[in-house]
C-alpha cells in the first residue's frame, strides 16, 4: 500500500520536475556515499561536494547531486528517492556494504542509468559500468618495502590493525608479503579498531612488552596519531619509524615537513570519489569512453610528491 503511494507521489513529483528538467535538459549525476562518521568518510563527503560544486559550475548542462546516508538501509532508501523523482543519467555510489546494495543498484541500472561503483565492489560486478578503487594490498606492500629498504632488511616490527574486514586483511596481507624474504620480524599484531585511543593504549602495551622495537606500522592514520603520542610519552629512542596509511592531512603535513619518524605515507585517498565523479561526467559530456575498472595505485608519498595528496581544507 505504502509502496503504491510512493509510486504515485514519485510520479507526481516527476511530472512537476519534468517541466523544469525538459526546459534545462540537464544531465543528472547522483552521488550516493556514506555519511561522515569518521575521518576517511568525512574526506569522501568533502571531495564529493567539492567535485559537485566544480562540475556544476563548469558544465551548465550537468547537475551533480550528492546524497549522504548513515547506514546501508538508509542508502537503499536514498537510492529509491534519488531515482524516483527523475531519470538519472549516472549514479556514482560508494556502497556501505556489498550485499545489501547490490540489488537496489541493479534496479537503478535497469532504468538505464550509467553505474559507477567506488571503493567497495558490489556482489555482481556485471552491474557496474565503471569501477574506481584504491589498492589496499599496495598500501601494505609499499610500506613494507620502504621498511625493508631503510632498516637494511633486519629489525623488529610491531603492527596495529583495524577492524576485521576485507580492507584490513588486504593491507596486512600486502605488508606480510612485502617483508617476506627479509629478516624483518613482526613481534606482534593486534586490533586497535582504527581508533586513536585504542591505538594509544595498544602502543603503550607494546612498549611495555618489547624492549627493542625498530619500527611501528599502524594500517591507518587515525591509529598512527595515538601511536606517536604513546612513543613521545615513553621517551623511547630506539624506534626509527612509525608509519601509517590512508593519507590524512596531518600525516601528509609531517611528510612535507620532513619528519624523521614519519618520512613517508601511503595513500588510500578519499579523493578517489572525485576521480570517479569526474570520469563519469567525462563520459556524459565529453563523449569519452570510460567503461572498465580503475585501480588507483598507492605509491609511496614522499616529500617530493606530497603536495599532490595534501588537502589542507579537507577534514581528513
Amino acid at each position: 500500500m505504502t509502496r503504491s503511494k510512493w509510486v504515485a507521489a514519485a510520479t507526481l513529483g516527476a511530472l512537476l520536475l519534468a517541466g523544469q528538467a525538459l526546459a534545462a535538459d540537464k544531465k543528472v549525476v547522483a552521488v550516493s556515499i556514506p555519511a561522515a562518521d569518521h575521518g576517511w568518510t568525512a574526506g569522501v563527503v568533502y571531495h564529493a561536494q567539492a567535485a559537485a560544486k566544480e562540475i556544476n559550475a563548469a558544465f551548465p548542462d550537468v547537475e551533480v547531486v550528492v546524497k549522504t546516508s548513515p547506514s546501508a538501509t538508509a542508502q537503499v532508501s536514498a537510492l529509491e528517492d534519488l531515482s524516483a523523482g527523475r531519470k538519472l543519467d549516472a549514479l556514482v555510489i560508494l556502497p556501505h556494504t556489498s550485499e545489501e546494495l547490490t540489488m537496489p543498484v541493479k534496479a537503478v541500472k535497469d532504468g538505464g542509468t550509467f553505474i559507477t561503483v567506488v571503493d567497495r565492489g558490489l556482489n555482481d560486478p556485471a552491474i557496474q559500468d565503471l569501477y574506481v578503487a584504491g589498492d589496499n594490498i599496495a598500501v601494505g606492500r609499499n610500506t613494507a618495502k620502504f621498511l625493508v629498504d631503510k632498516l637494511g632488511g633486519k629489525g623488529n616490527l610491531v603492527v596495529l590493525r583495524g577492524i576485521p574486514t576485507v580492507i584490513d586483511d588486504e593491507r596486512i596481507k600486502g605488508f606480510q608479503d612485502g617483508i617476506a624474504g627479509s629478516d624483518l620480524k613482526i613481534l606482534d599484531i593486534q586490533y586497535a579498531n582504527w581508533n586513536s585511543d585504542d591505538a594509544f593504549k595498544l602502543m603503550q602495551d607494546y612498549l611495555a612488552k618489547y624492549p627493542e622495537i625498530d619500527a611501528v606500522w599502524a594500517n591507518d592514520d587515525d591509529m598512527l596519531l595515538g601511536v606517536l603520542e604513546a612513543i613521545k610519552e615513553s621517551k623511547r629512542t630506539e624506534i626509527k619509524y612509525a608509519l601509517g596509511g590512508n593519507g590524512m592531512k596531518e600525516i601528509i603535513k609531517k611528510v612535507i615537513d620532513g619528519d624523521a619518524m614519519t618520512p613517508v605515507e601511503t595513500p588510500y585517498p578519499p579523493s578517489m570519489i572525485k576521480t570517479a565523479i569526474y570520469m563519469t561526467v567525462a563520459n556524459l559530456v565529453g563523449h569519452a569512453p570510460v567503461r572498465g575498472a580503475v585501480k588507483l595505485d598507492a605509491p609511496l608519498i614522499t616529500k617530493e610528491n606530497a603536495e599532490e595528496y595534501y588537502f589542507p581544507d579537507s577534514p581528513f
Partner: protein, 330 residues
C-alpha cells in the same frame, strides 16, 4: 522481594563494619595481578602499571558518576557520546580564547567543560524524571544527539587543540605529583568525594533508597524526581572531569572519541558490586572495576597465548570469572 527491607538496613553503623561486597572486586583485582605476573613479569613493572591505571582514569571517573545514577535506579547510555561532545566544546572554546587569553584559556575551558557536563546531565535527568521516560530510551536518544553534534562540529573529521596550548595542557594527562600520574590523583579525589557524598550524606541515602524501592522511598518523603535528577547532574559533572583529563592525551576530539565507553562504564559499575537494578552503590568497587577492565585488555596484549581474533572472547570470560569470584567471596 527482599528489597523492601533494604532501606532499613542503610543505617550509619554499617559504614564502619567490614563489607565483603566491597572487598569482592578487590579480590578479583588481586587475582588478576597475580595471574598477570605469572603470565609476564613485565606486567607488574611500575611503568606498565602506571600506564594502565592512568588510562583507566577516564572510565573510572565516569563510572563513579554512573554509580550514583545506577544506584538511584537509573541508567545512562549517553556518557561516551557526552564525553566526546564536551571534549569538542572544550577544545573549540579554548582555541577561540587562545589568542586573547593565552594559556589562561585552559582553566576557562575547564570551567566551560564542567558547565556543559552539568547542563548535559540536567537534560538527561529532566527527560528521565519529569518526562517520565525509561532511562534506557531517554539516554539512548541523547546518546545519538551528542554523537551527532560532535560529528557535526568536526565535519566528521578532527577538532585539534591549538598548538600554543598543547604543551601547556599536556601535564594534566602526562604530568605526575610525587611520582603518581595526575589522572590517577584526580580519579582518587573524585572517588573520595563521591564516597563521602554517597555514604555520609543525606543525599547518598536518598539515592540508595530511591533505587532500592521507589514506592517505599516516596512514602518516606523522598523526592524521586529531585534525587534522580541530581544523580544525572553528578554523572554529567564526572563526564566533564573525565573530558578535561582526556583532552591533553591526544589533543583532539573526533566522532569516534568515547565510542562504547558507556558499556565499559556500566561493566565497571557492575563488576564493582553495584546492582544494575539499583540500591546501594559501591564507589571504590567501581574504581576497582574500571582498573580490572583496563588490566584485562593490557594482559591480552602482554600474553602470547591468545590469537588476536579471540581477544574479545577471552575478555568476556575473564569478566564473568571476576563476577563469579565476587559472588562467592560474599
Amino acid at each position: 522481594m527482599s528489597v523492601v527491607s533494604q532501606p532499613a538496613r542503610l543505617g550509619r553503623e554499617r559504614d564502619f563494619s567490614f563489607n565483603w561486597a566491597d572487598a569482592g572486586p578487590f579480590l578479583a583485582l588481586l587475582a588478576l595481578l597475580v595471574i598477570g605476573f605469572l603470565v609476564n613479569p613485565d606486567f607488574l613493572s611500575p611503568t606498565n602499571l602506571s600506564n594502565v591505571i592512568t588510562r583507566s582514569a577516564f572510565i573510572a571517573i565516569i563510572a563513579v558518576g554512573a554509580t550514583f545514577v545506577i544506584s538511584s535506579g537509573g541508567l545512562d547510555l549517553s556518557v561516551g557520546s557526552m564525553a566526546a561532545f564536551i571534549t569538542g566544546i572544550t577544545i573549540m572554546f579554548m582555541n577561540m580564547m587562545a589568542p586573547s587569553m593565552g594559556t589562561w584559556s585552559i582553566p576557562a575551558g575547564m570551567g566551560i567543560a564542567l558547565l556543559a557536563g552539568i547542563a548535559c546531565g540536567l537534560v538527561n535527568g529532566i527527560i528521565v524524571t519529569v518526562g517520565k521516560i525509561e532511562p534506557f530510551i531517554a539516554t539512548l536518544g541523547t546518546m545519538g544527539i551528542f554523537r551527532a553534534l560532535i560529528t557535526y562540529m568536526s565535519d566528521g573529521g578532527t577538532i585539534p587543540i591549538d598548538r600554543s596550548l598543547r604543551e601547556a595542557y599536556r601535564p594534566v594527562y602526562f604530568g605526575t605529583v610525587a611520582g603518581i600520574p595526575l589522572p590517577i590523583i584526580i580519579s582518587l579525589a573524585v572517588a573520595a568525594i563521591a564516597s563521602f557524598v554517597l555514604y555520609k550524606t543525606k543525599y547518598g541515602r536518598k539515592c540508595a533508597a530511591a533505587g532500592a524501592n521507589e514506592d517505599v522511598a516516596r512514602y518516606s518523603g523522598i523526592s524521586i524526581v529531585r534525587t534522580r535528577t541530581i544523580a544525572y547532574v553528578i554523572q554529567g559533572a564526572c563526564v566533564a572531569i573525565a573530558a578535561i583529563c582526556y583532552v591533553p592525551r591526544l589533543g583532539a576530539a573526533t566522532p569516534t572519541t568515547g565510542v562504547l565507553w558507556e558499556l565499559q562504564v556500566i561493566t565497571a559499575v557492575v563488576i564493582g558490586g553495584t546492582a544494575l537494578r539499583g540500591g546501594k552503590g559501591h564507589i571504590w568497587g567501581t574504581v576497582a572495576g574500571a582498573v580490572i577492565l583496563e588490566l584485562i585488555a593490557n594482559l591480552m596484549v602482554l600474553s602470547d597465548f591468545v590469537s588476536e581474533y579471540l581477544v574479545a572472547a577471552v575478555q568476556g570470560v575473564i569478566i564473568i570469572i571476576a563476577m563469579l569470584i565476587q559472588r562467592f567471596s560474599k
